[in-house]
Amino acid sequence: MKRFMGAIALVALFGAGGAWVLTSPSLQATGTEALPGGASNLENGRTLFYAGGCTSCHAVPGAEDKTRLGGGLALHSPFGTFYAPNISPHPRDGIGAWTPEQFVRAMRAGVSPDGRHYYPAFPYTSYQRMNAGDLRDLFAFMMTLPAVEGRVRDHDLPFPFNIRRALGFWKLIYLDGKVFEPAAGKSAAANRGAYLVEGPGHCAECHSPRDRLGGIVSEQRFAGGPNPDGKGVVPNITPDASGIGSWSKSDIVELLTTGFTPEFDSVGSNMAPVVKNTANLPQSDREAMADYLKSLPARPSAVKKAPK
């Protein structure tokens, strides 16, 4: 909150003109690169669709078919309530009329085809790591899903969070625009795991605490945090004793496949839909993700265990 007020003060300092320039969606240079040519790989698109967990937020709530991306799910947050939009291929109500370039721009810069900022409830801070070829394939796959009619209501946010333009400042702090770069000294599998967890998987978005402006606290990345919708906690997934330090690689793979922890508890809340997605990934991808999680720096849980 303080930092937000600071941002407001900054606006006053720069004057309205300067602020207008600084918050411009067109200032976001990312996601404007040319797409690779050739045919899209739908199978790769499908894998990324499940790695990205699109259906968890965008599927019509309560519907059996999770590929109907008509939106409507309410996401409660300290900043207000967000409503996941329709991202089905419906040409009027969804994203059916978008070009692949517009999709890449949305995923990597958080900017809509009509040039407005998206709120970071849409985790483009992670999706920006995805490379253009993967995004093209993902878009092509999404275009094969059912078109769902109906637009979703607007977000319900109080002032000042209802000023989209102000997100330009937020992006200056939290959006670096960098595509994932495979580390030279690491195996292809290790790089694949890092890419899936940090990029499409966007694990850190829920498994990290956030600061008052809603940005991830980087020194506590993956150390868990309060549930963004206010109920309970999201666990620490670093290899600390307060996290999943005692888990083997196959324990993590098991969780991402069936939802069972090493104690044979079954994960619930917002992780249950995540498992439905990761269960659709190739086994090698789940193994790569497990390896990467085990390679993370061990960090004590950001949320202390509730007193009994």
């Binding site: 549930n227 109920k231 309970g232 906690v233 999201v234 666990p235 069936t258 939802g259 069972f260 104690e263 044979f264 508890d265 079954s266 994960v267 619930g268 809340s269 249950a272 839909p273 498992v275 949320v303 265990k305 509730a306 009994k308």
Partner: protein
């Protein structure tokens, strides 16, 4: 049959009255732990890490059915909080849906028990029945620590 049911009902309601708030929370944790232990044994057999044992397989489904019958009665109005419970408030807002989840769990466990003859049939039934775990936890449980 009606008499037995009535007697069971009286016993159950009597037992409920005796159980204080903390006790029902401890009781449902114990029941869920038993489910977890059964699932662990079942997963080991399904994956071939333990030899298939028909009696054991039937026992797993029996544990599930018993849990499905006991659990719905362990959530009285006065047990919404306390005892480090991870029960979601939604249980009491949607008691009908919560009970329906257990009814489905019990029915599918009974069907799987009846269909289990060998490892292959056990695997198939076990996969269906254990889908209920996550489906209920998604709606009705909140992780607290």
């Amino acid at each position: 049959m009606i008499r037995i049911a009535a007697a069971a009902l009286m016993l159950a309601s009597g037992a409920m009255a005796v159980l204080a708030q903390g006790d029902v929370i401890a009781e449902r944790k114990k029941t869920m732990k038993a489910n977890g232990a059964a699932t662990e044994a079942g997963a080991a057999m399904a994956k071939g890490q333990a030899p298939f044992d028909l009696a054991k397989a039937q026992g797993i489904f029996r544990t599930y059915q018993e849990a499905a019958r006991t659990m719905p009665g362990l959530f009285p109005e006065n047990s919404k909080t306390g005892g480090d419970t991870s029960a979601a408030p939604r249980i009491w807002e949607d008691m009908a849906g919560f009970r329906a989840g257990f009814a489905k769990f019990e029915k599918e466990a009974a069907e799987a028990a009846a269909a289990t003859k060998d490892l292959a049939s056990f695997r198939a039934g076990f996969a269906i029945v254990t889908k209920n775990c996550g489906a209920c936890h998604e709606k009705y449980r909140i992780k607290k620590s």
